[in-house]
Amino acid sequence: MTEKAATLRAHLDVFIDDTLSRCTRCGKCFEACPMTRYSDGLTGADPKNVVSGVLDWLKQTPGNAESVAWLKVCTQSSRCVEACPEGINAMKMIRVGQMSAMGSLGLSGKPALSGRDAKDFFRVINAFSETQMTPEEIERWQR
């Protein structure tokens, strides 16, 4: 039995190794994506080339411009998951590629993707909570 990863990063490393070893760069995940038409940067793109670029991000090497364009328009539609003939979770592959392009996996230099959530995210969440829940509910349900 495979031992569970001790950290998120350790899990990502296992996932990356597995994906790199099994992905055949067939491009079917890209072909199945309903979002590519929203990016001018993907017009006429070669699916194999785009996927190779995403795999470069997994290897912590900057991927090509088309791969960045694809990472930007992913809305987690899952079509790629169903399309992969190797059973790779291609949506997770894209997500980890995004993490790499944000610089989260250790790639130095200016991140190709911005990944910061709104600075007020949790303050807004807490503010709305206080308008919708009683103090007792907040204390019992959210602490």
Binding site: T75, E82, P111, G115, D117, Q132
Partner: protein, 279 residues
């Protein structure tokens, strides 16, 4: 399924206390003992892809708190939380519970629910669908639940948008606009009076369509509780439909604005409430 569950409602749904309370009402109505958990203190960390240290810390903390609840099952409202638990959090933590989605639990007990939703509601309803939640095929489950309501005519449509809910489309504004326009066009051509949303972010981003379109936007859990004789109040929609800063301030109220802080209200809350739907 166990009778005791932790109901993990998530973060962003706190804009819609009506959805949270209705969901709890429905679980209890079908005989489930519920420990609710959500808000920032139970965040899954899915928004922290740019900071994996923070993401891991949040994920680990949330799993540990669920373990401490001692329930064998965590029922997730939010598809993002569900996905993040399945794909990431559960891979590096010792999660001692099973994860399921809210609609699955309700659907599994729909025979019990049917006996509770007895108040007739005359509505012609279209379900607003996304096809991205591949882990749980939620749309047919919700359609089955809506069919339990006496008086509801559920109109079948083949319109389904990318993403697992509308907020996923926000990063590609043209796709959100197109998806919203498709909802409007389909609802109008089908002559429905109600668009039922499945998830909270769809309710958040579509509810203000009521200001310009000939249909209501209601989350399906509120239709079900209405059919139980328990109507709910969607404050967030009321605020979104207010139409001006003065009207929003009047509806939210001075005391609540003071509690959240004028600066936060002015810089973050008010712009969200005044932003029209993308269409």
């Amino acid at each position: 399924m166990t009778d005791k569950v932790t109901f993990w409602y998530g973060c962003n749904v706190v804009r819609h206390g009506d959805i949270i309370h209705s969901a709890i009402t429905l679980l209890e109505a079908v005989g489930v003992e519920v420990t609710p958990a959500g808000g920032a203190g139970y965040c899954c960390g899915t928004s922290k892809d740019a900071n994996l240290r923070a993401a891991e810390g949040m994920g680990r903390r949330t799993v540990e708190k669920f373990n401490a609840h001692g329930t064998e099952q965590v029922v997730s409202w939010c598809p993002s939380c569900y996905r993040h638990m399945n794909a990431f959090m559960g891979e590096y933590t010792d999660a001692r519970f099973q994860l399921s989605s809210f609609a699955q639990i309700l659907h599994a007990r729909r025979d019990v629910l049917a006996a509770k939703v007895t108040h007739r509601i005359e509505r012609k309803v279209m379900l607003h669908k996304h096809f991205g939640f591949h882990e749980v095929d939620v749309n047919p489950l919700v359609e089955d639940l809506l069919r339990l309501i006496p008086g509801v005519e559920l109109v079948a449509t083949d319109v389904s948008s990318p993403g697992h809910m509308c907020s996923a489309l926000s990063r590609v504004p043209a796709s959100l606009k197109e998806a919203t326009r498709a909802v409007c066009d389909t609802a109008i051509s089908a002559h429905v009076d109600t668009v039922a949303t499945v998830f909270h972010s769809c309710q958040r981003l579509l509810c203000a369509l009521e200001g310009s379109e000939p249909f209501k936007v209601v989350n399906y859990v509120n239709l079900l509780t209405e059919a139980m004789g328990l109507p709910s109040q969607d404050d967030y929609k009321d605020w979104k439909l207010a139409g001006s800063e003065a009207a929003v301030r009047a509806k939210v109220g001075d005391a609540r604005i003071a509690a959240m802080g004028e600066k936060l209200f002015r810089e973050s809350i008010l712009p969200e409430l005044l932003r029209p739907p993308s269409k």
